[in-house]
Amino acid sequence: MATTDTFAIDQAELEQHVSASVAVENLHKTFASHTVLDGVSLSVSRGETLAVLGRSGTGKSVLLKIIIGLETPDSGSVCIHGQNIAGLAIDRLSEIRKKMGFLFQHAALYDSLTVAGNVAFPLEHHRKDMSRSERSERVKQLLAEVGMEDSFDKLPSDISGGMQKRVGLARALALEPEILLLDEPTAGLDPISSGEIDELVLKLQRERQMASIVVTHDMHSARTIANRLAILDQGNVVIEGSFDDLQRSDIGFVKEFLKQS
């Protein structure tokens, strides 16, 4: 029988989910016979950054792709601003996606377009009210924000991995998203470039107050940019809280993860 305390907890969770920009509830996902997500629940509100950590292959990237609708969960729900995106028609899902920006692990820049062309791409399709000069100005502004204003006419193959990530970030911000999803933003980068990306993400977050989810295995990066951290293991969220909460945890996996990071 539900007690008052249970109801209070449920009510608090409900209110958090309703007010959350992104609320993921009891997600399950299996590929062939391999379960990557086994009942994952988490939420992120406006102005918050949640870092999702875990070993390679624990479903972190799959979680992000489910949130933006690139993968479909076997069960569970994903609510964006209170709306469940499961089973939404493509047009409705597209409207929700316009409020989200996604930085892919390897930037996923369109290799036949220049740096400017990549950043302009979402604007050309969704901001037809903008004139060509307005679009060009906006692209310059976005590239300047990420420190890539000198690479306007370069192709993705002409710039380094770290620079591609910056351009990918500029592209993700083109439509002024309310939610930002970052898949391993510092993966494959040297420590200096990683630090620059972290600083950039932190600066953008302070200025834009987006709800952000960062998937990473880089604990230093997670500590720098996130308000809260969640560790995934075997498809479940093992712990969620601040870095201090993680350090205080008695869970063996968490201790081992922190020791190795």
């Binding site: 690139l70 996606r97 996604f102 892919f104 996923a108 979402p122």
Partner: protein
């Protein structure tokens, strides 16, 4: 275009050489122009154009889209709230449908020209005489269905190449597989479609 013109030219010469020999054996050399015209426009021109385009364009589309798939560019398009099928596949399929009949006409013209030229080297025959004899008794509309059936070839080539490309998995190996499958499956379905289309044309455009 150069590939298609070259293929058409080769077909024209081959048919010219084979037809001259066969028709001479049966005392029907006067049928040579009509034989060449009908063989090129109704049979060989469309299928050879389709197969050449399948190899060149089908492989290109399959490889390009596969490369985009494995590098997550198609996912990036979808994450930007843009329908990747409408942007990438529909445009390519439409282009194939429109271009195949046009390329077929070019291949036919090339084949007829080189076929006449090969014959003219052996027996003097003006191009005007050749065309008049070849098209005598036939209306222009007699050749339209065979030419426009290549629009169906374009649909097949575009659909198969886009499907193979956009459903690729497995990195560089997957890209190679997508390109190969685009050509192999495209060619196979093209030939099978020709069987159905020929029957369809014979029934509805006798």
């Amino acid at each position: 275009m150069p590939l298609v013109l070259l293929a058409g030219a080769a077909i024209g010469v081959v048919i010219s050489l084979e037809a001259r020999y066969s028709l001479s054996r049966f005392g029907a050399k006067s049928m040579f122009p009509a034989t060449l015209v009908y063989s090129v426009i109704q049979v060989m021109g469309p299928i050879i154009t389709g197969l050449v385009v399948c190899g060149r364009v089908g492989a290109g589309i399959g490889a390009e889209l596969a490369s985009m798939k494995v590098s997550e560019q198609i996912d990036a398009i979808e994450a930007s709230a843009i329908n990747p099928f409408r942007l990438l596949a529909a445009t390519r399929i439409a282009a194939c449908i429109v271009m195949l009949p046009l390329l077929t006409v070019a291949a036919d013209a090339s084949g007829l020209f080189t076929g006449w030229f090969a014959q003219a080297l052996v027996e003097p025959l003006s191009f005007h005489q050749f065309i008049s004899a070849g098209f005598s008794g036939a209306t222009f509309s007699a050749f339209l269905p065979q030419t426009f059936k290549t629009a169906v070839y374009g649909l097949i080539i575009g659909l198969i190449a886009c499907f193979q490309g956009m459903n690729t998995r497995g990195g560089a190996e997957g890209v190679g597989r997508a390109a190969t499958n685009s050509v192999v499956l495209g060619s196979l379905f093209l030939i099978l479609a020709d069987v159905v289309l020929v029957k369809f044309i014979l029934v509805f455009f006798p």
